[in-house]
């Protein structure tokens, strides 16, 4: 029962992620693409935790934590590049 509920929740989150991907493709400036990429990464972190619940693996929570850390560092690097170049 809870596995079906988790898959439904993942489906709802995937719709939001696809809308963000449309903005990544059609965004007029680079900042729009960076914002949409950040939203996609945050939704992906939540979906990794849901995947750990569906597959019943405790180790996948570590994957989500490392993904969150790398998302933070990568987005700060992208912001620095947008502000003053390499």
């Amino acid at each position: 029962m809870s596995g079906t509920m988790a898959l439904t929740v993942m489906g709802v989150a995937t719709v939001g992620m696809l809308l963000c991907f449309v903005r990544v493709v059609t965004g007029p400036t680079a900042s729009d693409r960076a914002v949409a990429t950040d939203t996609v990464c945050t939704i992906t972190t939540a979906m990794l935790v849901l995947l750990a619940f569906v597959f019943d693996r405790y180790v996948y929570l570590d994957v989500a934590l490392v993904y969150a850390v790398l998302m933070f560092i990568g987005l700060l690097a992208i912001a620095r590049y947008l502000e003053r170049g390499i």
Partner: protein, 112 residues
């Protein structure tokens, strides 16, 4: 069995916030509006989703709480950095904007 129901409800509400965040990024007219919609909705949505999984599995609760608190702390910081970079770079406001408190653009009223 009660904790599964409570965790399921919390996770469902969080996924709705994630959907609304994606819709805001798709729909808003301006990079700053997109930034605001994406940041607020996805921060709360990811927090509720991850904590809901921790409520459904009580032995995972502290680790999921650590992940969600990390997202709550770091997501506004990175989005603030992107917003400041686009403001310094001079990404234009949309046509329907009426005020600019930062003073970076000409032709807008200062309502600060």
């Amino acid at each position: 069995m009660l904790h599964v129901v409570i965790g399921g409800v919390v996770t469902g509400i969080g996924s709705l916030f994630l959907l609304v965040g994606g819709l805001g990024v798709f729909r808003m007219p301006d990079v700053y509006n997109r930034l605001q919609a994406g940041t607020k909705c996805t921060t709360l949505g990811a927090f509720l989703t991850i904590v809901g999984v921790g409520i459904m599995r009580p032995e995972w609760f502290w680790k999921t709480l650590a992940i969600s608190l990390f997202i709550v702390v770091t997501n506004p910081i990175s989005n603030h950095a992107i917003g400041r970079a686009s403001l310094k770079k001079g990404v234009a406001l949309c046509d329907r904007s009426v005020a600019d408190s930062s003073g970076s653009f000409k032709g807008y009223e200062d309502r600060s």
